[in-house]
């Protein structure tokens, strides 16, 4: 199976102190470290496992500037055979639809049976996967937490429903799936793995190569524009519990039950 996985380079919230930049439209980026979006990493692992089982090839693609190459390489060190980097000055400032347009164009250049994205990134928009599917006119399932390959014509997939219920669907190939964390246990990639693929060439796809025009992508054609970015002022409502450990546990359980957190 030919699988395309779309990955994004993000500042990992666990390894950064995220604060809002003075202009209010972004976060402070001067002291950040980046990694691959966690959901995307699960998607790549899933693709590799499918290929290890049934044969085929995994291609990873990222839209971004040249820095994004680092994460494409990391995913290749994991086991993706091919890496692609979609970079062009006109791509900068694209909104979700713009990014999906670029990725859909890249997908059209190959013949992929399956396109995977992470369900979302830390920014929580969770929009690109569905848009790619729509642009390519392919079936789509979101927040997938289980994939079984069948006859090569369709997949049996699981989706987690709010509240912990599980749903099972069959979906025709080719299709687009957005992948939930926990679907697998992504393998570890160390410095050694990355060095092994350090000299593998990663083709760069620009706007011309992809055939996307400036009217569809980039800041000017973005129809969603961020106008403000701030951390809400902490409101009242924090409740401090007191008592012995056992009492604390009892009170917490009672509270969680009362608010519907646990049943």
């Amino acid at each position: 199976m030919e699988i395309l996985v779309c990955v994004k380079r993000v500042p990992d919230s666990a390894e950064n102190e995220i604060s809002v930049a003075p202009n209010g439209a972004d976060i402070k980026r001067d002291d950040l470290v980046y990694s691959v979006n966690e959901w995307d990493n699960y998607a790549v692992e899933e693709a590799i496992q499918i290929v290890e089982r049934d044969g085929g090839k995994v291609t990873v693609i990222s839209v971004g500037d040249s820095d994004a190459e680092e994460i494409v390489r990391r995913e290749m060190a994991m086991g993706a055979e091919q890496g692609l980097l979609a970079t062009d000055a006109t791509f900068e400032g694209s909104d979700g639809l713009g990014i999906a347009t670029i990725l859909a164009a890249a997908a059209k250049k190959g013949s992929y049976d399956l396109i995977l994205t992470g369900a979302l990134a830390d920014d929580g928009a969770a929009q690109v996967g569905g848009m790619i599917a729509a642009l390519l006119d392919l079936p789509y399932a979101s927040v997938v937490n289980k994939i079984e390959t069948k006859d090569g014509k369709s997949l049996r997939i699981g989706r987690e429903i709010e509240g912990g219920a599980q749903e099972i669907n069959d979906i025709e190939l080719p299709c687009v799936l957005s992948i939930q964390t926990g679907i697998n246990e992504p393998r570890y990639v160390g410095i050694r793995g990355i060095r092994k693929v350090a000299s593998v060439e990663i083709p760069v796809l620009d706007a011309a190569a992809l055939g996307v025009t400036a009217g569809k992508v980039g800041a000017d054609s973005a129809n969603v524009k961020r106008v403000d970015y701030f951390v809400p002022v902490a409101g009242a409502g924090a409740e401090m519990l007191s008592g012995s450990n056992d009492e604390l546990a009892d009170k917490l359980v009672a509270l969680l039950k009362a608010k519907g957190g646990i049943k």
Binding site: D12, A14, E15, E17, D31, E185, G190, I191, R192, R195
Partner: protein
């Protein structure tokens, strides 16, 4: 030559001279033995290199101590003493066994030099030895069969009980002793009138008494039967040894000779490959059996199955899926199966060890505390094997999710929490009035570098230990500086968790920062940092743990301590694994504690010093989510309680974290307290 009244060498059976048989038995026996040994040696030649042909005097000392003097045996008193009896019995009886074999075809044979007084003295020794060995063997068999010490039990997942094998071997040893004595006793009975004496109350003497007055022809028959039994048992025993745990009778001498001599270190990925060449290696670590070094294979052969390692293994104690003894036994069985004495080795690709004989969790469960190695009577090592297996897993991407985050943070930020580099020295703000901690980051220099390491730099609780360290050093008049943002995690546990390349990166960055500081000595408060800088790094100044520095300051009168405010409390010292076992520092912390007037300190007898019980492990072990029934820290806290202590003093920030948690889990809050040694000194020192 004395002419014997009868002798196997002159005996005949239906006219057939039996000496021919007695020549054939040793020939066949030795031939079989040589073949078996050659087959057993086969995998060793396929193993990875392991240069242990150096440091000959030290190795000889180890042989004299561990092998000849059976140094570690009495740590388990009854079993140890009985083993010593059997061991020395075997040594003494070696000469007699040779004589016995030759007696089958040389009438009245004695070893050269044994004709006179020496021979007579030897006869006394060997008669006493075989008697004592028989007694020891009987006690051992009773103990094994009826009292069943818990450490010999084989949990179901590891296969069948080993008791039948043990009893069989004990039976064979008993038979050797009895047949030799019956042989001797029957001869003595026939020679009674000739005035041959024998040491009273020995086995040979008992047989002589028993056979008194029996006709010579009967005695001759008994003598011959005893001889045949002895001869056959002896060579069967010899050839049987390499098939089980009694292989150690042959291998332990070599295993001890080649045992690890250095404390604290970890073997390189491949011996003979420099750090700079690591990138060229195709594969890392141990994935298949043949990736083990030949010495590690010899370890597997030498394991006595005594269970002492597992008896002291904290992972085993809290029911993690690890028992070091079975790391050896499973690998030994693998070797026996894949390199069989008879028949061909299984063909095809060698299977992976992980998923084959070991599980991932089994190998991650080890805290590298070193208790097993300290205990093993034949010098078997585990830490290097664990690290090698982990290197293999890391290379294949098999790392639990719980460890991937901290590893990635270490790679990006130089600490497992992913905290900002620029905040590394923020703790210095809390040291207190009047003490300005110098920092290389700000351009300061000092003779002593205080290498803080990640936990004491970033963790709220551990920062207090760093602050106490700074105050104590300042009070002691030591001019010191910290590195600041360019200090990275020492990488101690990164290495021990198998991420060698990440360790190399951290080591290079730190080495550079340390060199740039121009310091002449380094002091640390974290034993893991101590061990990394002392035993893993090269080209850095000498390193001391703060407990060593404090002990010297106290002894030199530079630190004076106030009497305890609350003299009702009883203190005990928990030896951190990487301070004690791995670096041999047991006394300085005790010196420091005992220097406090009014101090009442007890030892956790049986679980202190080199038998200290791991608190749960430091570094990345803090992040690992093991499958266990209990926390190691809880076991430790209960040991302190049982010793009558209500304050645990430790000297490691990880011990502090683990023990503090364990006190809560054990429900001993308010009753038990833990304090770091430097915090104690800081609290008690006179201003």
């Amino acid at each position: 030559m004395i002419h014997e009244p009868f002798s196997p060498a002159t005996a005949t059976l239906a006219g057939f001279p039996l000496w021919i048989l007695f020549v054939l038995i040793p020939l066949v026996g030795i031939g079989c033995f040589a073949w078996i040994m050659a087959r057993r040696a086969a995998p060793l030649f396929k193993g990875a290199p392991d240069p242990r042909f150096d440091r000959i005097p030290e190795r000889i000392v180890m042989v004299l101590k561990l092998w000849l003097a059976q140094w570690r045996q009495p740590r388990y008193f009854l079993a140890g003493v009985l083993h010593i009896v059997v061991f020395f019995g075997f040594l003494v009886l070696g000469a007699r066994s040779t004589e016995m074999v030759v007696l089958g075809f040389v009438d009245g044979f004695r070893l050269p030099g044994f004709g006179g007084a020496l021979g007579e003295a030897y006869d006394v020794a060997k008669d006493v030895a075989s008697t004592l060995v028989l007694i020891a063997v009987v006690i051992l068999a009773i103990r094994r069969a009826f009292f069943k010490p818990a450490r010999y039990a084989v949990p179901e997942r590891y296969g069948k009980d080993h008791t039948p094998e043990a009893l069989f071997v004990l039976g064979m040893i008993g038979l050797l002793m009895l047949s030799e004595s019956a042989f001797e006793g029957s001869l003595l009975a026939a020679q009674r009138e000739a005035g041959h004496s024998v040491t009273a109350f020995t086995l040979a003497w008992a047989f002589q008494q028993m056979f008194a007055g029996v006709a010579t022809s009967t005695l001759a028959a008994v003598n011959l039967v005893a001889y045949v039994v002895h001869d056959l048992t002896f060579f069967f025993f010899l050839c049987f040894l390499p098939f089980g745990k009694h292989f150690h009778v042959i291998t332990s001498l070599f295993n001890v000779y080649f045992m690890r001599l250095q404390l604290g270190n970890v073997k390189p990925v491949v011996h003979g490959i420099t750090d700079a060449q690591l990138d060229d290696l195709k594969s890392f670590g141990v994935k298949k059996f043949e990736d083990f070094t030949w010495k590690h294979m010899l370890d597997f052969y030498s394991c006595v199955d005594c269970g002492r390692c597992s008896d002291h293994c904290p992972a085993n104690a809290v029911k993690r899926p690890l028992s070091p003894r079975f790391i050896s036994i499973k690998a030994r069985d693998y070797a026996f199966e894949h390199y069989p004495v008879f028949g061909k080795s299984p063909t095809g690709d060698a299977p992976n060890l992980i998923g084959g004989i070991y599980t991932e969790d089994e190998i991650w469960s080890c805290t590298t505390c070193g208790a097993c190695e300290e205990e093993c009577p034949v010098g078997i090592e585990y830490i290097d094997k664990m690290v090698d297996l982990r290197r293999g897993m890391v290379d294949e991407g098999m790392v639990p999710q719980s460890l991937q985050k901290p590893m990635s943070a270490l790679e990006k930020r130089g600490n497992p929490w992913g905290k900002l580099e620029k905040k590394r020295a923020e703790w210095t703000a809390g040291v207190g009035e009047g003490i300005e901690v110098k920092s290389v980051e700000k351009g300061d220099t000092a003779d002593t570098l205080y290498f803080v390491d990640s936990i004491s730099s970033y963790d709220d609780r551990s920062q207090k230990i760093a602050q106490a360290t700074a105050r104590v050093l300042a009070k002691g008049g030591i001019d010191f500086a910290v590195i600041g943002k360019d200090e990275k995690d020492s990488g101690h546990d990164v290495r021990r968790f198998g991420e060698e390349m990440l360790f190399q990166t951290l080591k290079e960055q730190n080495t550079e920062a340390i060199k740039a500081s121009e310091a002449k000595t380094i002091v640390v408060n974290d034993p893991h940092a101590l061990n990394a800088l002392r035993n893993d790094y090269k080209d850095v100044p000498p390193v001391q743990h703060v407990s060593e520095v404090v002990a010297l300051l106290i002894e030199g009168g530079k630190l004076k301590l106030n009497p305890l405010a609350d003299a009702t409390r009883t203190y005990t010292f928990h030896d951190p694994c990487y301070l004690g076992r791995h670096n041999g520092t047991y006394d300085p912390p005790r010196t420091a504690i005992d220097a406090i007037p009014g101090m009442k300190r007890v030892e956790m007898t049986g679980n202190c010093r080199d038998r200290s019980f791991c608190c749960g492990g430091g570094g990345l072990m803090l992040f690992y989510e093991p499958d266990e029934e209990q926390r190691m820290g809880v076991v430790r806290v209960n040991q302190a309680k049982d010793a009558g202590a209500d304050v645990i003093v430790t000297a490691c920030p990880f011990c502090m974290t683990n023990i503090e948690d364990a006190i809560k889990v054990a429900g001993l809050e308010g009753k038990m307290e833990v304090i770091d040694l430097v915090e104690l000194v800081d609290r008690q020192m006179q201003q």
